[in-house]
């Protein structure tokens, strides 16, 4: 029995060898979503904007929610946009990954196919969408605030950790869903809770003190807080929390990878 880190590093090396195939799959994933549709790629922009407008209407106009004075902005849409961007990446990737192996059952059972690249390419396609969204956010920031802080350099760190965390979980749900098809349904439920219990519409300190642990141990909450710190408040994020986030993300990444590596041998028997 090999040590887990050996299994995992071999696993990563094999993925690296497949980069040409991965590129193909990312392109295919992006194109499948928008191919044949008249507006094509613009849908990836339109969807978040619709979300943004609707949420802003409900929370800002109806309920009169305003960002806290220390939020760095008085504009609720901007506050929301900045917070929801990393969440949408996380949610889309996870939800789509959960069924991706089953959708490609033909490849898994009929060809010598490295199925671990399926969640990976879903994630990478999500990265492309995220970058587009981020570029738009950046334009708005410059246009409305007129400046950006040096802490923006920390955003890639947060995002890479979010990628690792998301991919680890994606491997986990993708592998599990092959055996138990309810996983993708369960995931929808979990994600709904997760969404509302993550400080996206509100700032972290609005969370009831007794339940604050839910935020502390929620990597998404930390990533969202990090995005706001760097982009809106323009203050130094808590490096201790960033370090913990880093360790947690790496653990989830490696754990999900090893889980998938072990369980994928059974795929052909089940699919």
């Amino acid at each position: 029995m090999l040590a887990p880190w050996v299994i995992f590093s071999n696993f990563l090396r094999k993925i690296y060898i497949q980069r040409s195939l991965i590129r193909n799959f990312v392109v295919r994933d992006l194109r499948t979503r928008y191919i044949g549709s008249f507006m094509g790629f613009f849908w990836s922009v339109i969807h978040p904007i619709v979300l943004l407008v609707s949420y802003t209407f409900v929370f800002s106009v109806i309920f009169g929610v305003r960002p806290r004075p220390d939020a760095g902005t008085t504009s609720f849409p901007l506050f929301l946009f900045c917070s929801i961007l990393p969440w949408l990446f996380f949610q889309d990737t996870l939800q789509r990954s959960s069924t991706i192996v089953i959708e490609n059952a033909n490849l898994v059972t009929k060809t010598l196919f490295p199925s671990e690249i399926l969640p990976l390419s879903v994630m990478l396609a999500g990265v492309v969408n995220h970058l587009i969204g981020f570029a738009i956010l950046l334009c708005i920031l410059i246009f409305t605030l007129g400046k950006i802080s040096v802490f923006i350099l920390l955003i890639p760190v947060y995002f890479v950790l979010l990628m690792l965390f998301t991919l680890g979980l994606s491997w986990f749900v993708a592998g599990l869903n092959v055996f138990v098809r309810d996983v993708s349904q369960i995931l929808s439920v979990v994600l709904t809770f997760w969404f509302w219990f993550t400080p996206i519409f509100y700032s972290t300190d609005r969370f009831p003190a007794g339940m604050r642990f839910l935020v502390h141990w929620n990597p998404l909450a930390q990533v969202v807080a990090g995005y706001r710190d760097c982009l809106l408040r323009m203050s130094m994020p808590d490096m201790g929390i960033l370090a913990i986030l880093g360790v947690a993300s790496l653990l989830v990444f490696a754990g999900g990878g090893i889980f998938f590596r072990v369980i994928k041998r059974e795929f052909v028997d089940v699919l």
Partner: protein
Amino acid sequence: MRAIQVQNLSKRYRIYRSPWDKLREATGLGPGKLHREFWALKDISFSLDSGRTLGIIGQNGSGKSTLLQILAGIMLQTGGDCFVSGKVSALLELGSGFNPEFTGRENVFMNGAILGLDTRQMEKRFDDIAAFAEIGNFMDQPVKTYSSGMFMRLAFAVAVNVDPDILLVDEALAVGDLIFQHRCMHRMNHLRDGGKTIVLVTHDLDAVTKFCDQALLLDGGRILENGKPDLVVQKYHALIFERERGRIDFSRSNESPDRSSLFTPADKMPIARSIPNIDHRFGSKEASILGVELLDEQGNPVAEAFTGQIITIRISAQFHCEIDQPILGYTLRNRLGIEISASNTTFAGYPLPPAQKGQICTTDFSIRLPALAVGSYALSPAVAKGSLLQHDMCDWIDNALVFTIRSQDLIYGMLRLDADVRSYISCAEGQNPG
């Protein structure tokens, strides 16, 4: 050099009542055993030298596809060893991984990537693939607009152009029109002659005898026979026959017995009594072959015959019970086991009358021997009951009589076709008639 070496290979499927059980057992959280077991393969051992061609045959569910999936490395075996040396291309299903929304060109590159080739390598092969697939301008149309024939041509073109050392093919050739099958076969021949190792899972027994060097008969996950293709195919025929015997319900056909057969006292009629060779024998034994002979014009037994000569194939059989519609016949094969011709009393238009228990019947088939290629040929006599479409084999002897065909003429191919030949030759350039 061995391309494939398989030793005591077994594959067990675990059948679970629900997927939860599967997960509970896999994670060790369940109360021990939660499954039924099913052995798809049991104790399979064989080897294949590099550059050789292996045909795997067997009924549905015999484990053929599972074996191929394990050879391809897609599936893990439960026990035993499986060594495959060289780059493997598995063609388990045509067009798996094709996306109907994308153009043919995009799918070609995508499929190439799945089969392990990067874009640059695929670009080099693209022209060959396009030429083989022959889909012209459709290459840049979405695959969903293709006819099924075009789709298959493209998929096959990609699979055979990735240049594998070992090609594993599952039933892929059974689909498609005749031209396509012909072209695939041609391509496979080309690969074989180029020294590739090929494993073919198929129901096309002709393809196995013609194309393969070696064959494997699987049944219920075990190897029933492993060896020369013609022998293995015969064994398979016998197996199918045994299986079917219990099932077929005989409906009486309307053929009325012809008076061409003569009732003769047993001591006055000719009876063939020798069976020189028995490769394989099967049947219900409701009747049995007594002998088979090859006779010349004078009625003397011969071991060789000349093309153009009139020869008589004499088959004698005895009935051990009452049979309404007996049939006596033979199959002629060449030395490669390819069926040259077959005939029987009913097929030839001389059906036998109902037979009583203990009766003996001798049938002479007299034919003018066509201009077949010289070499050795084998006759397999048979006695059956029923109609042409539905009959029940009583006794079949494979290759009971082997004889040689000689010829005064040169014969190329399997046989010589005499032709009237007329040629037209144009005038040389610059010479106008008149």
